[in-house]
Symmetry: C2
Subunit: 417 residues, 2 copies
Amino acid sequence: MKQSLLFTKTKREIREEEKSLNAVLLIKAGCIDKLAAGIYTFLPLGLKVLRKIEQIIREEMDVIGGQEILMPALTPREKWEITKRWENFDALFKLKGIDDKEYALGATHEEVVTPLAQKFIFSYKDLPQYIYQIQTKFRNEPRAKSGLLRGREFSMKDLYSFHADEKDLNNYYEKVKTAYFKIFERLGLKDITYLTLATGGAFSRFSHEFQTLAASGEDTIYICPKCKIAYNKEIIETITQCETCRLASKDFKEAKAIETANIFKLGTRFSAAFNFKFIDKDGAEKDVIMGCYGLGPSRIMGTIAEINNDKKGIIWPETVAPYQFHLILLSPDKKLAKKAEELYNELIKAGFEVLFDDREESAGVKLNDSDLVGLPYRIILSDKTAKEDNVEIKPRNSEKIELVKIKNLSNYLKKLK
Amino acid sequence: MKQSLLFTKTKREIREEEKSLNAVLLIKAGCIDKLAAGIYTFLPLGLKVLRKIEQIIREEMDVIGGQEILMPALTPREKWEITKRWENFDALFKLKGIDDKEYALGATHEEVVTPLAQKFIFSYKDLPQYIYQIQTKFRNEPRAKSGLLRGREFSMKDLYSFHADEKDLNNYYEKVKTAYFKIFERLGLKDITYLTLATGGAFSRFSHEFQTLAASGEDTIYICPKCKIAYNKEIIETITQCETCRLASKDFKEAKAIETANIFKLGTRFSAAFNFKFIDKDGAEKDVIMGCYGLGPSRIMGTIAEINNDKKGIIWPETVAPYQFHLILLSPDKKLAKKAEELYNELIKAGFEVLFDDREESAGVKLNDSDLVGLPYRIILSDKTAKEDNVEIKPRNSEKIELVKIKNLSNYLKKLK
C-alpha cells in the first residue's frame, strides 16, 4: 500500500476525550476511529490487524474440530424468556421492531445456538458437535471507557460444544484450553496470560478465564508462583491453597490483568431450558451436555496495543501487524523516488506485506509516523544509503540498525520470517 | 469435510412456514436456518458460500482502489438528526441504551462514513478516496417473506467515494459499473443482470440499479432489447425512448427482476449536511462530492439459489459452491470404505475442496442428499465402479456421467477447473 493513497493519516494529538491507552495509541496510528463511547470503526490498518487475529483464532478452532457458522445479532425476546435471561442478563440492548416484535442484540448466543443444535442433534450418534462463530456482539455497557477492552459493540469468537456425557465435555474442555494457549502463543501473549479459576455454576465449581497481565486491567488475579495457575479476586476468599500444587494462598502474587478469554461448563443449563434431549446408546432420553468458550478478537487487539508500545507508539507483533515492512523514502530526489517505487513493486511481487511511505513529507514527519504506526520493520532508502546501494533496516522493537544491499533485500527479508 | 461429522443434515421437508424458494432450498440443503422472519443463521455450508461471494466482491473492490474498513452497526441518533433521516429513513431499527443514548442500527452508513472521512480529508491532495466495508446491516422490514432476498439482518458491501469534482465522480462511477459487471460475471449472473436506470436525486437525473432476472423478483424492469439497458418501473412513465439508443419505449420488454446492486451519485447531499469541505487547487473551500455503491452478498446468495436449481435442489456455480466435489461412498464394504477414505485424504492433500459422504446411509438417501446440497461435481465410488478401479463423475447440472480411473482422478479434476 502506498501511504500517499492511504485513507487514514496518523494523529499527533487527539481532540476527543479519550483516556484509554489502547484507544489513544490505535487512534493516533490510524487503526480505529471512535464513533461513540465503546463504539469504534476499524480503519484500513486496524481492520487488517483484527482480521489477522480472527484468522489465527479460526485456524486453531478448526484444529479442534470447530465448524464455523454465523448467527444473527437480532435475537427474538421469546428465546431469552425461555432461559429466563430477558430480564436478568446483564446489559442486554433491547429493541422493538414492526408488529411490536421484540429483540435483544446478541451479547452471547446460547439462546440461539441451543435451539439450532436441537434441529440437527437427535441421537448419541450425532454427538459431539463443536460450533463456533466470529461475530459482532453488543453490550449496553455502563462504563465504556477502556477503548477496545470494553466495547458496546465488539468482535467475539464464541464456540459451543455439545456432548453425550460429562466425560466427553471434560475431554473437549481440556482441548480448548490447549487451543487457547496456542492462540495466545501465536499472538505473542502466552508468557503473560494465566489460566485463572473463576466463579463456576451449578454444573462445575469453577469456570476458567484467560487473564493477560496489564497494568490497566480491570481484573485482579492471584497467581500461584509455583504452578502458574491464577485465581480471580471474585473467588480468592474461598481458596486457602492452590487447587493444583497445594501452595498456601497467602503466597500467591497479586496482579492486574485483562480477561481475554473464558471457558465455561454449561452442563444442562440451556439444554434443559429448551428441552433439548438426545437418545443415548442405552435407549434413554437424556439432556445434552454443553460447554461454551469465548475469546474476543477486538479485546485482544486492544490488549496487544495496551502491552506492546513505547512512548513513540504501538509495536505490533509480526503475527498481527497490518503490514510487516514500512518502506520509507527519505529524499526529495526524483531518481531515488523512482528507485524506491521499483523496490516497492519488487517486494510486493515477491509477496511481502509492505506499506510504502512515498509521501512528500519531511524525514522527521515520516519517521515519527512510522513509529506511531508501529510495523515490525522499517526499511529506509535515503540519499545516504543509496550512495552505497543500501537500505537501512531497523526493527520497531530495537535500536539495532543494519545496512543491506538493495539487490540482497528480498533474500534478507525472507530470512527475517 | 467428512459428512458424518458435519453439523447439519439435509431436510426433506420443512416444518416452518417458509414460502420463499431460495429459503426453502437453502434450509433443505443445510445452508441456512431461520431464527425469525428475515433473520437467518448461516450454517457451515452456507457460510462458505457467503464468504466466497464476499471475497469475490472484495477482490473487485480492491482492483478499483477500494480500501476496506468496518463501521459499527450501532450509530448514534445525533448523526441521523444532522442529515434529517432519523425520522425519515425508511425502516430504521431504533434503540435506547444506558443514559438514554439513542441509536439506529445501521441500514446504510452515510451518517458514519461522511464525518469519518471528514477527519482525514482536508485538501484536494487528499482526494479522491474510495472506502468500503462488508458488514451486517439491519432494516425493520414490514415484509420479510423472501428468504435472503429481503432480510431484517443481512450482509452488505457498501462503498463510498469522495471526489474534488463531478468529473472525477463520473469517471469513478463508470469504473464501479465495470467492477460490478465483473463481479456478476464471476458469480455466473452477468448474462441475466441488467444495468437499470432508476430514480435519481437532486444531483443526477437517474441512479443505476443492477437487476437480475428472476421470476420471483419484486421489481419490474423494462429492457431495451437493442442496447440491453433497462428501466425500473418507477421511472418508466417518464421515458419515451431509450436514453442510449433512442429506441421507443413501447418496444421495451417487461421482466421481473431482483435488485442485486445499486449505485448512486450523492453529490453534496451528505457533505453539505456535515459541512464537510476541502480546499481546492484554487484555494477555495468546496463541498466534497460523494458517490455510494451497494451490493448485498446475502441477497446475491439468495438470488443464486433462486435461479440455479432444479426439482432436486440447488445447483451451485463453481465460483461460490461450498465445496467443489461431493465424494460419495456407495458401499457397505469395509475395504472400499478404506479406499474411499484414502482417496478423500489424497484429494484434500492435493488442495481440492471435497465433501466426503462417509455416512452409513442407503444409496438413495446419499444421492438425494447430494442433489439437495448441489455441489458442482459428484464423485461416486461403489462396488461396481471399484471393480474396474474407477469412480463415476457427474456434474450437478447435467446428466453426463464419466468413468475415471482412480489413479487418474487428481489430474482429471484439475482439468475441470
